[in-house]
Symmetry: C2
Subunit: 306 residues, 2 copies
Amino acid sequence: MSNKFIIAIDLGGTNLKIALLNSRYKIIAKELLSTKKFTKSTLIQAIIKSVNKILEEHGIARKSLLGVGLGVPGPINFKKGIIYFMPNISGWHNVPLRAILRKRLALAVFLDNDANLMSLAEYRLGAAKGAENAVCLTLGTGVGGGVIINRQLYRGSGSVAGEIGHIPVNLTGPRCNCGGRACLEAYIGNSKIEKVAERIFKEKINLAQLSALARKNNRKAIKVWDEVGSILGSALVGVINLLNPDCIVIGGGVAGAGRVLFNKIREIIRGQAMPIHRRAVKVHRAKLGADAGLIGAALLVDENAG
Amino acid sequence: MSNKFIIAIDLGGTNLKIALLNSRYKIIAKELLSTKKFTKSTLIQAIIKSVNKILEEHGIARKSLLGVGLGVPGPINFKKGIIYFMPNISGWHNVPLRAILRKRLALAVFLDNDANLMSLAEYRLGAAKGAENAVCLTLGTGVGGGVIINRQLYRGSGSVAGEIGHIPVNLTGPRCNCGGRACLEAYIGNSKIEKVAERIFKEKINLAQLSALARKNNRKAIKVWDEVGSILGSALVGVINLLNPDCIVIGGGVAGAGRVLFNKIREIIRGQAMPIHRRAVKVHRAKLGADAGLIGAALLVDENAG
């Protein structure tokens, strides 16, 4: 750990967050922009402007800055700092964003997938702290994931590992956006859960309502979360039997369903994972909330700069 | 690599193999015993007798021996060298076999799971040589597996990682011997494939016949292997999207079905794994055959002794 400041950027389909963190990963300043109003080139411009503004406002010289970490919602080439594409932000194909930003900001820049950064944050400072091997999930519009192996973020041979949302959970099933079939995400992405809810409630109901109702022990809401928990639990049984992790962390909006969802997931793991595997693993709710992506981006700089 | 000899032992449900290998992992001598005729204590006695005999016959002094490597068909505690249990050999529960053999042989002894050792052998000397991240499977009565991560055998938090055969492939399905449900092994273990064959052929047919018929383009046999390949392919899609390996190796008796089976597996991966993931991965047939377990046991000694 250096005593320098870090800039962390979380690029999401909806929001672009830019933050200044101190050397203890505390967020000192944060700016929120709407991703939707930018094209590719105006978005890069907005990042540069925002970084320069934040440094100026806080009187921070470039030499007091360790670097810039950036999380993106899509697959990247980690070594080269290239964004392959982003499913929910059009116009980005094979963009060497790290090189572009490094040149225009005159700062060290590191990129990673947003789910990897959430996992890194939960591992270093959150619910998976101290784990040797952990698997982290974020449940949202999509189902993202990250894998910690031997106390390090595991990126795989093409830096695209961790796609827990795209584990097939059934031999037949709906086509998934990824091109696959019967993927976990095709069952428990936010819009899919709302469809389950509509079937059970016979009316439209959103996820916040569904979580609130479950906490009040509403039977139909519990039925929805039981169904979600069973499917997620089944995918996790496979992950547990394959990787024998000591920790699983689940975050994202859907994790707000809380106890009802987590109880079902734990019940499936107890009932179906192999005995030694299930005894080795703990399932935790993510701790760092909506800022996990920014904190992970700062940790990425810390791990790779200098 | 030292220039010492190594003793490798492969304990299977049917056969107990004991071999002497030179420092280049070449098998110089091999003894085959029937596992079934032993109890726990007579089996340990037989191992000791056989090791001593092999050393004597080849005039090898203990100081010319690097150690003894032993593969077992069940979960073990790697650090402590304890066999938890063996599904197909009764009477073994929490047996500290490493300590027992070390004391009675006066040699360095290392234990690992047989599927891990097959994976280690294929990675160091076989079809996964040169890979950075690989997943190896053996198809037999059970479906075993091993995972290579960052050029090392990955054992997980409780040294029981790699249970690819116990990834659930469906949300509902048959109970598995492991206590789980709809596991890969419950669909493509040898006896399950024979059941599929019986359904399609409307008569009993064994796996060797089924492989031979497929090589002669028999339609019904191809249908059986297509079904097996589809289910195995679906499980591998999940493993590929999760781990982003550059290599998958498939061995064991069933791999004898050859081209028909491998074509189907590759077709499923091409059609359903995520684009960057599927382009990164190659699927190979195992190279080392029935001696992979012995070679892996020798490599285990090489990696851990001295």
